[in-house]
Symmetry: C2
Amino acid sequence: MTATFHLLNIEQIGPIVQFHRKKAGLSRVELAMVAGIGKTAIYDIEHGKLTVQFNTLFKVLAALNIKLAVDSPIMDLLEETPNAQR
Amino acid sequence: MTATFHLLNIEQIGPIVQFHRKKAGLSRVELAMVAGIGKTAIYDIEHGKLTVQFNTLFKVLAALNIKLAVDSPIMDLLEETPNAQR
DNA sequence: CATAATTTACCGCCTTGGCGGCAAAAGATT
DNA sequence: AATCTTTTGCCGCCAAGGCGGTAAATTATG
């Protein structure tokens, strides 16, 4: 199970969520229940509402088994030293 | 310049942002201006406010040259067929 | 070590995201 | 094709996010 990362174009988040939801055979109401949020949020996300709250989107992605990753050259530096100063 | 992905633990987003901001030598006000948002948002994010709006967080990450990526096995399927049905 | 300059913390106001409810649309069943 | 079932679209209300302003705290400078 090699990880397959795809750089996120912010305006593609709607189609991505919808595609995964359909693949999972879930209605918006069902996905909303699994994610523990309201159905309106699913509707909004799929319709490209970028002002959705981050944790709301994160719950949806988690429910769809989509993981988020950050791509930054200096992340290693942070992880190696949890109490990194500057 | 190989991409270095790090799976995102949602509650680590605050420290990640702060670490990158400090590394860039920016104050919160400066980062806010670069990102085109208010300084309060930076403050909130660094203090672990997960209810921040997604596009607000995205602007901050972009200003810090942090890219977001999605990890999903079926993403290839979506990208290959832009008008994928089910 | 005093004080000036910068950065951070927090407050109240205003805007808006997220909610349930319900109607419209789409799909299934006979 | 008529009707029952499921899904989607959208409305108004309420709670909360994001804003600038300002005080507190931190850091730099002479």
